[in-house]
Amino acid sequence: MKDKTAVVGVGSTPYWKRGGSLPENEMSMACTAILAALDDAGLTVKDLDGFAIYSSSCDPAQVASVLGVPEVRFAATLTSGGGGSAGCIGLASAAIVSGQAEVVVSLMTLQQVGRRLGRTQTTGGPPVVPASPYGSGGVPPTYAFGAFSGLISPGHSFSILTQRHMHLYGTTREHLCEIAINQRANAIKRPTSIRKDPLTKDEYFNAQMLSDPLCLFDYTMESDGAIAVITTTAERARNCKQTPAYVMASANGGMGRWGPAIFNYFQQPDEYFASSGHRPVAKRMYEMAGIGPDDVDVALIYDHFSPMVLMQLEDYGFCGIGEGGPFIADGNIRLGGKIPVNTHGGHLSEAYIIGMTHVREAVEQVRGTAINQVPDCEIALVTGGPASLPVSGTLLRR
């Protein structure tokens, strides 16, 4: 698969605070993003023949009919949630390399009007939606085992991993603060960013603690918006409007016993409990690309919670396991540092469109058109998750 496909188009709606997208709806937002991405590439709906998505982020059946796609030749999703955001580019590439489709869209449409993503487990009663539409439904028999723990939101769960990391390695809130401040500094310069006020250390340490050891600024914000990207063959990419972002490698998955990990599971073995769950994915991704972390020029790291940036820096080999805190404290993730991280501001400060803002920034960095451009950027890493498996990592190159 290496270098045989490229991302050629990126399109999006504006990014809004949660609920700010009205009177748009999911369909109108998806269409806007897809058409903008095709236009960016110099392609049209007549060229589009595949959907490679994640987390069932749209319904290709509906989108294809509304847009009038001539023929859909591939439609698939990576399972679970945001962990597939980087991996859906690999799914698109797999469809293209195997000859099943040629111009494939990946997208996320997020509109948190009637439902807030972060509150998915907080309804105050047992889950009413069955795990599969084909099961017999009902409350899972293991549900009651976690129902009295009080772990009811993703933030609570990531706090558990973070507390363990702090215990094992001496990671501190100072380290998390530096992640939040770095990303705010990057977001300030971007017109698309929702949070544009400078963030000071004082503000960080005076912010409300939501679930120890995480405070308000360690949590992602809640946003609305849609982003689409177009992947096609390397050959066709050379005739598109933009500089191709070649897909060097993409991997998704995780250790089987990472499983649902943070969603009322917490039975991961000791050796990777306080981790991002990305280690096996990182290994396969680097092997496919034939490069290592020292070759990466910019890292767009999924950041629903600040400590997961730190754990992914470890799991992707930018520093040793347990060394993420000091690595960050030394200024390595800043623009001009050893590995600039989340140059777009990320979920913490730009917008939270479930990982697709990171894919967009990776493409812009490789094209050389990013607002916080890393000089001579050749190779960008973009990740999806930590979450239930699959989590994912993708390498794009100029």
Partner: protein
Amino acid sequence: MSKPGVYPPIIDDPYADDVTQPFWDATQQGKLSCSKCRKCGTMLLPPQPRCYECQNDSFDWVELPGTGTVYSFTVVRHPLRPDLAEAVPYVSAVVELDGTQGAGARLLTNIVEVDVDKVRIGDKVKVRFDKISNALTVPRAVPAKPSPALSG
């Protein structure tokens, strides 16, 4: 109903099947039990239809001492539902249970009767059984050595 530090019940039925019911039968008798693979001895909590080590599908139930160690935890300070306003701050924890191998049989629980600012990983806890309904008694954790100011 809601007490500071205690995450309030949201169900009064264990929604059990044949695999999980013995656990709830035991809690009603004030006992903490665990599913143990008949082939390789791996302990599973919650019980599952298959052993993740050897894929075997037959298990025994064994009684655990009901003590353990805090593996990790969080202090939840922000109430995500109106009914949690009086419960916060409360401690949610992952506890490794004595008599098990650890991972695979960890207990997710609320640690109660504790100064939330003094909980640390490695603290010893013991299970207390709280009756929710005639069908459901749940294990919550308390410090193995009670804090004098907070016990009772």
